[in-house]
């Protein structure tokens, strides 16, 4: 079953084509990677899918429902969550409060219920704390729950971002370069974590630079170059695809490799 689908998705910025008629299908329950050289349009794809930008043309659907024009905040309610390439934790809040923010859509108590401290409000807040602690446990940050997010080390902030994103058990998790700046050991732990997230029922779409990391982890890989999709398939096929090698290494090097 296809969970996320984009059809002929395009984004133009003042004459520059950042994403050019990209078709993408992410299977439910898979780990899907989006790769490509710098400037290939990966982050723009993420911004379009998560609703931060409105595409110039094309269509995005989640589980069959058209979400092309939905604003960013509505995506969360549809079961989508994301992390950012440059870490965007709420620095002044505690670690636990950060994760609670990720459960915003799960808390439906309005102003009145909040002001009157109705039982519904209390129940939802308590549930949220329980779920947030569970998410922190999963990423291994339970002990830091009451520290300020700003006090965490870089790698921990990345994990906090992931905890915040998965706290509400999204159907689709978008991870933008989650392994950036991590050493191999941390990377391996992260792979592990992402698999566990997938196993818990969340489909994962990730953008990543580290080819080794992607090839070990992803079930399927889509390659973008200059905004176009140039390849799509299982990692093993992608690794051998000449157009991918050309895109990454340049035509000359690719020719040499072929000759060799």
């Amino acid at each position: 079953m296809t969970l996320l689908r984009t059809e002929a998705l395009s984004m133009h910025f003042a004459g520059l084509v950042a994403v050019d008629a990209v078709d993408l299908a992410v299977e439910a329950g898979s780990i899907h990677a989006l790769i490509g050289p710098n400037g290939a349009g990966k982050t723009t794809m993420f911004n379009l899918i998560s609703g931060l930008m409105l595409p110039t043309s094309g269509r995005i659907s989640l589980d069959g429902a058209d979400i092309t024009a939905l604003p960013a905040h509505a995506h969360a309610g549809m079961g989508m969550a994301r992390s950012f390439q440059n870490i965007r934790v709420f620095a002044s809040m505690t670690v636990l409060e950060n994760v609670l923010t990720g459960l915003h859509s799960a808390i439906t108590a309005g102003i009145a219920a909040t002001l009157l401290r109705l039982p519904m409000f209390r129940r939802q807040e308590q549930d949220a704390v329980t779920r947030a602690r569970a998410a922190l446990n999963l990423v291994g940050l339970a002990a830091r729950a009451d520290d300020r997010a700003a006090a965490l080390a870089y790698g921990d902030q990345r994990r906090l971002e992931i905890a915040r994103a998965i706290a509400g058990h999204p159907r689709l998790l978008l991870l933008d370069e989650p392994a950036a700046g991590m050493n191999p050991a941390e990377g391996a732990a992260l792979s592990d974590l992402i698999r566990r997230i997938r196993d818990a029922g969340t489909t994962v779409l990730l953008v990543e630079h580290d080819m080794g990391f992607v090839m070990r982890l992803a079930d399927r890989v889509t390659v973008l170059n200059f905004g176009r999709r140039i390849a799509d398939g299982p990692p093993a096929n992608i690794r051998r695809d000449p157009s991918v090698i050309t895109a990454y290494l340049g035509a000359k090097v690719a020719a040499k490799l072929n000759a060799a």
Partner: protein, 280 residues
């Protein structure tokens, strides 16, 4: 009550009222700043509340229990009109648009004879007092404290920190911002109605650019870590001119310097303590 105490209370009665009213104004600034917006419309909202309530009392002879809530209607309508288009834009636009709002209203008060033109409205009966002012202030503080310790409060802080990240968490940023602006208009409108009904006279030049800046400095001085901070900020800046009477010419210098120093060196205000954003 001994006579000296009576005299003492009578002497400082207006100061006591001003502390309460300015506390409400500090909160009206707080709620906008706490979602990362800068509005300079609080004085304009206050003026609308003051004018509409004074007219309701003097022309329609309505009881204060009706006048007070009704004084929030005009500010809220104006907040809707100004907020709907500008909230989508950069924060600078809201600040400038709300300055514009204040000037349009000032021109309106001056040119409409029904509201007294430059002569303002005088002879407003004293209907408000310590009870009405401080119960509203306490209610507002309590409300913000309860909201702060909830998902709504967390969402507000998240918007202030990083609106894009907040939006991807499912926070409807535009709705929160409009809600904050409307709440701000309600509080400023109430403050206007209360102040009009303790001082018997209101004029068109009391709600312009300078008071708008003064209200901003309440929140900047106190900080916005918790709802108590802007109220404390308002109290300090209300009492200072009374203590610095002889320095009146330099009072505005002082106000300005406080804002500069606060932004540069105390970005969190003089009460940097922040409240915990969870209820459990």
């Amino acid at each position: 009550m001994p006579i000296w105490l009576d005299d003492f209370l009578w002497t400082y009665q207006n100061v006591v009222y001003a502390l309460g009213v300015n506390g409400l104004l500090g909160l009206s600034m707080y709620v906008v700043l706490s979602v990362g917006q800068l509005s300079l419309g609080q004085a304009a909202f206050m003026g609308l509340g003051a004018y509409s309530s004074a007219l309701l009392t003097l022309k329609l002879h309505l009881p204060f229990a009706i006048v007070l809530p009704a004084s929030t209607i005009a500010p809220v309508l104006f907040a809707l009109a100004i907020g709907t288009p500008t909230l989508r834009l950069s924060g600078v636009y809201l600040a400038i648009a709300t300055i514009g709002l204040g000037e349009v209203l000032r021109a309106a008060y001056l040119n409409i004879d029904y509201v007294g033109g430059a002569l303002g409205i005088s002879g407003i009966p004293e209907r408000a007092g310590v009870v009405s002012i401080y119960s509203l202030l306490i209610l507002a503080l309590l409300g913000f404290w309860l909201i702060g310790r909830s998902a709504i409060g967390r969402a507000m802080e998240a918007i202030r920190e990083d609106e894009v990240a907040a939006a991807t968490m499912g926070v409807n940023v535009a709705r929160y911002r409009l809600g904050a602006l409307l709440t701000s208009a309600v509080l400023a409108g109430l403050a206007g109605a209360l102040s009009a009904h303790v001082s018997s006279f209101i004029g068109p030049n009391e709600y312009g650019f300078e008071p708008a800046v003064t209200i901003l400095s309440y929140a900047l001085l106190g900080g916005i870590g918790s709802p108590f901070a802007p109220v404390i900020g308002a109290w300090i800046l209300t009492l200072l001119p009374e203590m610095l009477r002889g320095f009146a010419d330099l009072r505005l210098v002082f106000n300005g310097v406080i804002i500069v120093l606060a932004v540069l060196y105390l970005p969190n205000g003089i009460l940097p303590w922040t409240m915990r954003r969870r209820a459990a």
